[in-house]
Amino acid sequence: MKKAAFILVLCIGLLLAWAAKDFPSWGDPQSPASSSPVASHFIANTGVDTEVPNMVTAVLADYRGFDTMFETVVVFIAGLAVFSILRGGPKNRTRDREFVVDFEPDLIVTNTVRLIVPVIQIFALYVLAHGHVSPGGGFQGGVAMGASFILIALSWDLKTALARFPIERCFTVAALGIVIYAGIGLLSLFLGGEFLDYAHLAKIFPVSPEMARYHAMLGVEIGVGFTVTAIMFALYASLSTDGRMRDGL
């Protein structure tokens, strides 16, 4: 089996290496990806269309907003699947654990975490809200926010973290994020545009169509941030306790 796998992998490798000589060299400005009309269109027009300096955010949340919406739904479904598969198993299943959790939360660790968790959360909010003009956005900010709750669970225990962010509320918040995203899309649908065509939001808000797209992108990123924060914590809580939500890592 291993020998057959090795030969198969080697054959694929030879084919790919043979194809490599046709690809552009490193940093070639004339490479097909750089000279395509799509790339130059986005470079020339994102600033005019949406006033967003970060082109990646503009493409992610506006031009390809539909894609990002269902990406958020995929994150939500992944969290839901992990939770329900682990929760639905036999109730009194016993596993041999390598580690036994039997300790008091360490004084130095908990006090350090008490100091740095607010800083992490403010940084996460900054990344989320500043995703237009600097690298960042909903996914990154949401993951950083979820990581702060995971840090609480790691340094005290899972019960302390679940007291702050119960697992049922995780899924409520995650669904709320998708509702925010789809709601902004539906609002622009009802105002006469297409789904997720944010420029039509300028009819009810006192801004120009370009600034309407700018601010709708912020709203969409907040929705993504809600979903990702909640799902990251729910994933950790489910996986570290084998779905039982007791005696975590």
Binding site: M1, K2, A5, F6, L8, V9, L10, I12, G13, L16, A17, A20, K21, F23, P24, S25, W26, G27, D28, P29, S31, P32, A33, S34, A39, I43, T46, G47, V48, E51, P53, N54, M55, V56, V133, S134, P135, E210
Partner: protein, 95 residues
């Protein structure tokens, strides 16, 4: 062996980055096929997918380019443009 135009020179000197992507992809593929442990298979899948994303991103690299964020002086509607219009207004007021 490494003279200009030979296949080794093409692969290991000029196109070293593609060679590395192929090697990473093969490591991931081999781990997915041959390893029995599911965590190892998962790590192999991550290596496989990062190799592919690395390939996609690296053909868009341009020599001497900036990151894809407008500088104020490049942005047609950014702060620099507003400064410019204020400046011309001041100039016209002055005149």
């Amino acid at each position: 062996m490494f003279e200009d135009g030979s296949i080794f020179n093409q692969l290991l000197v000029e196109r070293l980055n593609y060679f590395i992507y192929v090697v990473l992809l093969l490591i991931g593929l081999w781990a997915m096929i041959a390893k029995n442990n599911l965590i190892k298979k998962l790590i192999g899948m991550s290596i496989f997918q990062t190799a592919i994303i690395l390939f996609y991103v690296s053909i868009g690299v341009k020599e001497g380019a900036t990151i894809p964020i407008y500088l104020p002086e490049h942005d047609p509607h950014g702060s620099h443009a507003q400064l410019d219009s204020n400046h011309t207004e001041l100039l016209s007021h002055g005149a």
